[in-house]
C-alpha cells in the first residue's frame, strides 16, 4: 500500500469506521468520514466534489477498494501509526459520529458532510436550517428540520464551521 492508502485506512480505523465497503451505508460512511476528517484539518490529499450523495472523492473509493482487495492489507497496516495531533483532531470529531435514532450512520455523516461542503465552498450564504433543508431537498436529500438543525449544532460543536455572525 502506498502512503495515501495507509493514511486513509488509519484514519478510518481511528474513527471507528469499517472499511469493508460491502453495504451502501458503509461506503457512504467511508466517504463522508474521510471528508469530515479533512475538514477537521487531517489532510489526506483527497479532493471532494459534489456528486449525487454530496461530497465524494473517487480517489477514496479507489484507495479503499484497492486496499481491501489486497489479501494482506491488515498486516500492511501493522507498525504504522498517526501523529498525536491528527489523532486528537479525529478523536474530537468522532464524538459526533453517532447518528440520531432516526438515521443510519451513513445518512447522518452524509448530512454533516453535505452541510459542511455547502458552507465551506460558499454554495450557501446562510446557516438557516430551513434554507439548508430546502437546498438539500433539491438534491434529493430528505431530512427533517430537526435533523438539519441538529447537524448544524454538531458542526459548530466540533468547530468544523464558524457560527454565523
Amino acid at each position: 500500500m502506498n502512503r495515501r492508502q495507509t493514511s486513509t485506512l488509519l484514519v478510518l480505523q481511528e474513527l471507528g469506521i469499517t472499511s469493508n465497503m460491502d453495504a451502501f451505508d458503509e461506503r457512504l460512511s467511508v466517504q463522508k468520514s474521510i471528508y469530515l476528517a479533512q475538514a477537521a484539518g487531517v489532510e489526506l490529499g483527497h479532493y471532494f466534489s459534489w456528486y449525487l450523495r454530496g461530497p465524494y472523492a473517487p480517489s477514496v473509493a479507489q484507495d479503499v477498494f484497492d486496499a481491501i482487495q489486497n489479501d494482506d492489507h491488515r498486516s500492511s497496516l501493522e507498525g504504522w501509526e498517526l501523529d498525536p495531533a491528527s489523532r486528537a483532531k479525529l478523536a474530537t470529531i468522532r464524538l459526533h459520529f453517532g447518528p440520531p435514532a432516526s438515521l443510519t450512520q451513513g445518512r447522518w455523516l452524509e448530512l454533516l458532510a453535505s452541510i459542511h461542503f455547502l458552507i465551506a465552498r460558499n454554495q450557501v450564504k446562510t446557516q438557516d436550517p430551513v434554507a439548508l433543508r430546502s437546498l438539500l431537498a433539491r438534491h434529493g436529500k430528505t431530512y427533517t428540520a430537526d435533523q438539519v438543525a441538529s447537524a448544524i449544532s454538531v458542526l459548530h460543536a466540533a468547530n468544523l464551521i464558524a457560527r454565523a455572525a
Binding site: M1, N2, R3, R4, T6, S7, L10, V11, M21, F24, R27, Q31, V42, E43, L44, G45, H46, Y47, S49, W50, Y51, L52, R53, Y56, P58, S59, A61, Q62, F65, D66, Q69, N70, D71, D72, S75, S76, E78, G79, W80, E81, L82, D83, A85, S86, F117, L118, R121, N122, Q123, V124, L135, H139
Partner: protein, 464 residues
C-alpha cells in the same frame, strides 16, 4: 462574438471572444505553455512535446461545439454558456510540473517502506505536513486568488462561479458541471486525439464529429449519444483503454516517470533542492509570483542538481533521468482479471508478495542497495475509470456514486439514455467485466550482468 482566432492541429480554427482572450493572455494561463501534457512520454515518443496550453484550448473548442448542440435543449443562458466556456479553458490551470507526475508523489511506494521487514519497524505518518493538493484544488486557488485572473474574469464572484464549475463544487446546478466531468467529457475527447496525433500511435483516434452530431439531451437533462453512434462511443472507450495500455503506461516512459517520482519524494522527505516539504508550501507559492516559474523546467533543475548528491540513490535516480538511461525492467506481470471472480489478480498478487518478502535478500545477494529497485503496481486499466474495482459487485457499487460519468446511449425510441456498458448488444458490455492489470519491478543500474541475474531470480515469482 468571436474576435480572436487560433489555428490548432487537432480542431482547426478555434474562435475566442475578447473576454476569453484576456484570460489566455494572463501570466497564470501562459504558464501552461511550460507544462508538457504527457509528462515524460517525449523520451519515448520524440514528438510528444505538446503542452497543457494547447490541450486547454482544445477542450475549450470541444466545449464550444457541445454547447452549440446542447444549450437550447438544456436551457442554458448566454451568461452560463460564457462561464462554461471559461471553465473548460481553465480546467487544467492547477497542473503541477510534468502534470500528474509531481502531483502523485504521495502515492509512491519506496522499496524500504514496502518490504516485509518494514512492518517490524515502528512507523509514524505525520498528517500535520499536508500532502500535495490535487490539481483541482490548486486550480480553484489560482482562479480565485491570482490577481491577473481575477481581473481578466471580471472579479472575485465570477471567478468563484467558474472555479465551482471545473471543480464540480456547484451545488446550485449540478447539470452544468456534469458537462465538464462526465465520461463523454471534453477533456478526454481532446487528450485522446491530441496524444494520438503527437505520439503517432493511432489508437486514440475518436470519431469526434460523428459523436457530437449524434449528441442528445433527455427530458431530465441527461446527455447521451443516439443509438446510431453506439459503435463510435464503443470505440471512444476502447481508444482510452489502448492509449493507457500502450502510451501512458509504456514501460520506458513509466520507468523514467517512476524514477522521477521517487526522486522528488526522497528530496521532499529530506528537504533537498527546494522541493516543497508540504502541500501548504505549494498553496503559498500559488499566491506569489514564484508560482509562474513552477513548470517542467523547475523539476528539470532539481533533477540536474540532484545528480551530484551525496546520497547514491538520489544521485542514481537523477542520472538515469538526465542521461535518459531508463530503469531496467526486470519483470512485468500482466493479466486480464474477470471482475466476476472475487479476490485479487493472482499473478500480480503473487509477484508483489514475493517482492515484499524477497527483495531485501535479492539486493544483498546482488551487492546493491535495495532502494535501487522500483516496485510498481498493481496498476489497473479498464474501459471506464473504475479500473481498480476488480469485482462486478465492486464496479456496480461505484456506479451508484459515479454513474453520471458513464458514457450513455439513447436506445431507439427511448426518452432517457442508459449506460453503454449496460447494453447487452454492446461489446463494451462484455469488456467492462474485465480489467487489465500489471505489476512491474524496475532496477536502476547500468550493470547489465546484475540486471540479468535479477531477471533470472525473479522469473518465477508470479507462480503459485
Amino acid at each position: 462574438m468571436p474576435q480572436r482566432v487560433v489555428t490548432d492541429a487537432i480542431h482547426g480554427t478555434i474562435e475566442l471572444t475578447d473576454d476569453e482572450w484576456r484570460v489566455v493572455d494572463t501570466p497564470s494561463f501562459q504558464r501552461l505553455r511550460h507544462l508538457k501534457q504527457l509528462q515524460m512520454a517525449h523520451l519515448t515518443y520524440p514528438n510528444a512535446t505538446h503542452t497543457r496550453f494547447a490541450h486547454s484550448l482544445g477542450v475549450f473548442s470541444v466545449m464550444s461545439n457541445v454547447l452549440r448542440v446542447a444549450k437550447e435543449k438544456l436551457n442554458i443562458s448566454a451568461g452560463k454558456v460564457a462561464e462554461l466556456r471559461l471553465a473548460a479553458l481553465l480546467h487544467d490551470i492547477g497542473h503541477y510540473p510534468y502534470s500528474h507526475l509531481m502531483e502523485k508523489i504521495d502515492k509512491v511506494q519506496l522499496t524500504e517502506e514496502f518490504v516485509s521487514s518494514a512492518r517490524e519497524r515502528k512507523k509514524s505518518i505525520d498528517l500535520t505536513a499536508a500532502p500535495y493538493p490535487k490539481h483541482e484544488r490548486l486550480g480553484e486557488l489560482i482562479v480565485t486568488t491570482r490577481q491577473d485572473l481575477l481581473d481578466a474574469l471580471g472579479g472575485a464572484e465570477r471567478a468563484r462561479k467558474i472555479a465551482d464549475l471545473f471543480t464540480r463544487s456547484s451545488a446550485a446546478d449540478p447539470q452544468l458541471s456534469k458537462l465538464i466531468h462526465s465520461s463523454l467529457d471534453m477533456d478526454r475527447f481532446d487528450f485522446l486525439l491530441r496524444d494520438a496525433n503527437a505520439t503517432g500511435v493511432p489508437y486514440g483516434n475518436v470519431d469526434l464529429h460523428y459523436l457530437l452530431s449524434n449528441l442528445m439531451v433527455s427530458p431530465s437533462g441527461m446527455l447521451g449519444f443516439s443509438h446510431k453512434a453506439m459503435s463510435a462511443a464503443e470505440q471512444f472507450l476502447f481508444a482510452r483503454f489502448f492509449m493507457y495500455k500502450v502510451v501512458y503506461f509504456h514501460k520506458t516512459t513509466y520507468g523514467l516517470e517512476e524514477a522521477c517520482r521517487q526522486l522528488l519524494r526522497r528530496c521532499r522527505d529530506s528537504s533537498l533542492y527546494g522541493v516543497p516539504s508540504s502541500g501548504a508550501t505549494i498553496e503559498d507559492w500559488v499566491k506569489a509570483d514564484t508560482f509562474l516559474g513552477f513548470s517542467d523546467g523547475w523539476v528539470d533543475d532539481v533533477v540536474r542538481r540532484a545528480q551530484e548528491d551525496g546520497n547514491p540513490v538520489i544521485a542514481g535516480l537523477a542520472k538515469c533521468i538526465v542521461r535518459r538511461q531508463p530503469p531496467t525492467l526486470i519483470r512485468e506481470v500482466c493479466e486480464l482479471k474477470d471482475r466476476s471472480v472475487a479476490g485479487a489478480a493472482e499473478h500480480c498478487r503473487n509477484f508483489l508478495s514475493r517482492c515484499r518478502d524477497r527483495l531485501e535478500k535479492l539486493a544483498s545477494d546482488l551487492g546493491i542497495d535495495q532502494r535501487f529497485f522500483l516496485v510498481v503496481g498493481p496498476v489497473p486499466v479498464s474501459l471506464e475509470d473504475r479500473g481498480s474495482i476488480h469485482t462486478s459487485a465492486g464496479a456496480k457499487q461505484i456506479e451508484e456514486e459515479e454513474k453520471d460519468e458513464l458514457v450513455k446511449i439513447f436506445s431507439r425510441g427511448a426518452d432517457e439514455p442508459i449506460s453503454l456498458v449496460d447494453i447487452p448488444t454492446s461489446i463494451a458490455h462484455v469488456a467492462a467485466n474485465y480489467v487489465h492489470q500489471f505489476a512491474r519491478l524496475y532496477l536502476v543500474t547500468d550493470d547489465a550482468a546484475i540486471a540479468e541475474r535479477a531477471r533470472t531470480t525473479v522469473g518465477e515469482w508470479d507462480k503459485s
